[in-house]
């Protein structure tokens, strides 16, 4: 069995499972945020009217909540959503509620690894499509909608069709100025936005062995853009020390069998890989940064669960040091803990000296909700994960997706720039 099959077999209480089997899996962890949370509460209210009442959550210690999409509250409706979410977590005894402005909080997918809220081998469901992110820890992590999350709150279980696994073996040595973001954009460009639909995308190989956890997370995070049910990486010493630095909770790493069956195995030699960009209006619409070099931009954005981890900020700061930006540039660390580290390491000073605005952790502009949305025909280069029409604002705006290095280089030049062309 593959790693995903083994985790799902255990969760379903079976000796083995195979792709296409439908299992009823026990859930180890559940997450919802200030968009999916109120949506789930609404579903629970509708069910209550029909006689299905949630008296208690199956296990409040396995549930955690964060405020990330509409913080700081953009208006009365989003403020009210946060109030109702707070009442709900209090009523149902959910202690892990990461609140805006009260210490640690941040983008849900970032907190899940920053706080080690999910452990290797677990089944983790979240009310957000990028829940796939956390598979980098060696867990089965999949996004669900409001009704499914509400169902898990009742029963502690949910049905899954066991996915086939596509294995991506990454070989060689990543060149300077090329990051995990370039790898995953290249892969999505190759397989398309439907290339992983219903499937598991697993990453392995010597590139992964040498890669730090935050870069691994960029890979699994964007498996969502290929439609994947989950993304996953086998846990190793990097995983173990990452978790150990954050929690004393016991965990058991699960590994796939040596003779596991994969739907497909794609080998990538990364030695010659260049900085990659996804042009509007699809994450699969890729080319090299050189191909679109010189494209004028209005804004550069370093934020989101994909591109505002500490490793991303460190990378961008190397280019910004001693430079000035030529377009409006925003840097929003993905969690408060990352903000604090960036401050202590002097990264925030580098960003503000370069002219960037450094803002609070929020999903706001990434999903076109608030906190810096794009106007008509504006062009943005962004470390985020999606660039569908209207994703970051007006339906006539355009977003180019890229690594933090490409975004920083482009901010400095005011046009799309290959980071290898910036002298530091």
């Amino acid at each position: 069995m593959t790693l995903t099959e083994k985790i799902l077999a255990r969760a379903a209480g079976k000796d083995s499972v195979a792709p296409e089997d439908v299992v009823f899996a026990k859930v180890d962890k559940l997450m919802m945020h200030d968009v999916s949370g109120p949506g789930v509460i609404k579903v629970l209210e509708e069910w209550k009217k029909k006689g299905t009442i949630l008296e208690r959550i199956w296990d409040p210690s396995k549930v955690w909540v964060t405020e990330d999409h509409f913080v700081p509250a953009s208006d009365k409706i989003s403020a009210n959503n946060i109030i109702s979410l707070s009442k709900w977590t209090k009523r149902f005894g959910v202690r892990k509620h990461y609140k805006y402005g009260m210490g640690q909080y941040g983008i849900c997918h970032t907190l899940s690894h920053e706080e080690a809220l999910v452990l290797p081998g677990e089944v983790y469901v979240g009310g957000d499509s990028h829940t796939n992110t956390t598979g980098a820890l060696g867990a089965f992590a999949a996004g669900l909608g409001h009704s499914d999350i509400a169902y898990v709150l009742h029963h502690g279980k949910i049905w899954f069709k066991v996915p086939e696994t596509i294995l991506f073996v990454l070989k060689g040595q990543l060149p300077d100025h090329v990051m995990a973001k370039d790898i995953i954009l290249r892969i999505i460009g190759d397989i398309g936005t439907e290339g992983g639909n219903y499937k598991c995308m697993q990453f392995s190989g010597e590139v992964i062995d040498r890669m730090n956890m935050e870069e691994r997370i960029t890979l699994t995070n964007m498996t969502t853009e290929a439609g994947a049910k989950n993304g996953i990486i086998e846990p190793d010493s990097v995983t173990e020390s990452y978790i150990r630095e954050r929690t004393d909770s016991p965990f058991q790493c699960v590994l796939g069998d040596g003779n596991a069956d994969y739907l497909d195995i794609h080998e990538y030699e990364v030695n010659q890989l260049e900085p990659i960009i996804a042009k509007p209006f699809s994450p699969a619409n890729t080319c090299t940064a050189r191909d679109v070099q010189g494209t004028e931009i209005d804004k550069a954005y370093i934020g989101s669960c994909t591109g505002a981890k500490l490793a991303d900020l460190r990378a961008a700061s190397r280019l910004f040091k001693g430079k000035k930006v030529k377009v409006r540039t925003e840097v929003l660390p993905a969690a408060q803990s990352i903000y604090i580290s960036a401050l202590r390491e002097g990264l925030v000073e580098i960003f503000v000296d370069a002219g960037c605005v450094v803002g609070p952790p929020t999903c706001g502009a990434c999903c076109g909700a608030h906190m810096g949305v794009l106007g008509p025909k504006e062009i943005c280069i962004s470390t985020t994960n999606r660039n569908f029409p209207g994703r970051m604002g007006d339906v006539e705006s355009q977003t180019f997706l890229a690594s933090p290095l490409v975004v920083a280089a482009s901010a400095i030049n005011g046009k799309i720039t290959d980071p290898r062309d910036i002298t530091t």
């Binding site: 949506g39 579903v43 996004g143 409001h146 169902y151 049905w159 439907e194 949305v373």
Partner: protein
């Protein structure tokens, strides 16, 4: 739910994503009727006005890709859309539509999508796995039968209505 009749609204393009179905700025809204007003706003701001109760949406491959927002099937269902006809669906949209009991995701082949026209009156007959086009002289097209678990959830009117003990009964 196994015999539906209505008018087709054809938006035949691939990868119609959730940012188009319900743009991000409306994610804070959880009132279903209010959400309906913004359905498909990224593609056609007048969509809400064009649709009547019982109508169908016909689209291209990978319908509903993108985010897990359940706002997407909720907004479409509350416009009156009873089924979406497409060659394929993104997984979370498909799940949300079925598990929430909002509308039916109907899979057909690409040729069927090309032949069925905007404004056609059709019957979606899931019992016999047929799409019958009344406007085209009752021409019948095949629809892909639902997998067993999906059929069971649809029949129950949503996942919550199904006894967990019976979910996986064969």
């Amino acid at each position: 739910m196994n015999h539906l009749e209505g008018i087709v609204h054809k938006y035949y393009r691939d990868n119609i994503d959730t940012d188009v179905i319900v743009p991000g700025q409306y994610l804070k809204i959880h009132d279903h009727r209010e959400l309906a007003k913004h359905a498909m706003e990224g593609l056609d701001p007048d969509f809400f006005k064009k649709v009547s109760d019982g109508d169908f949406l016909l689209c291209g491959r990978n319908f509903g890709c993108g985010s897990s927002r359940e706002h997407a099937p909720i907004a479409l269902a509350n416009c009156g859309i009873k089924a979406i006809i497409a060659p394929s669906f993104a997984r979370i949209f498909y799940r949300n539509a079925v598990d929430g009991g909002y509308l039916l995701p109907i899979e057909v082949d690409e040729e069927t999508c090309r032949q069925v026209e905007n404004g056609n009156r059709i019957i979606v007959d899931t019992l016999n796995s047929k799409l019958v086009n009344i406007t085209q002289g009752r021409k019948a097209y095949d629809i892909k039968p639902f997998p067993k678990i999906i059929a069971r959830i649809i029949e129950a009117g949503g996942l919550i209505n199904l006894d967990p003990q019976k979910l996986l009964d064969t």
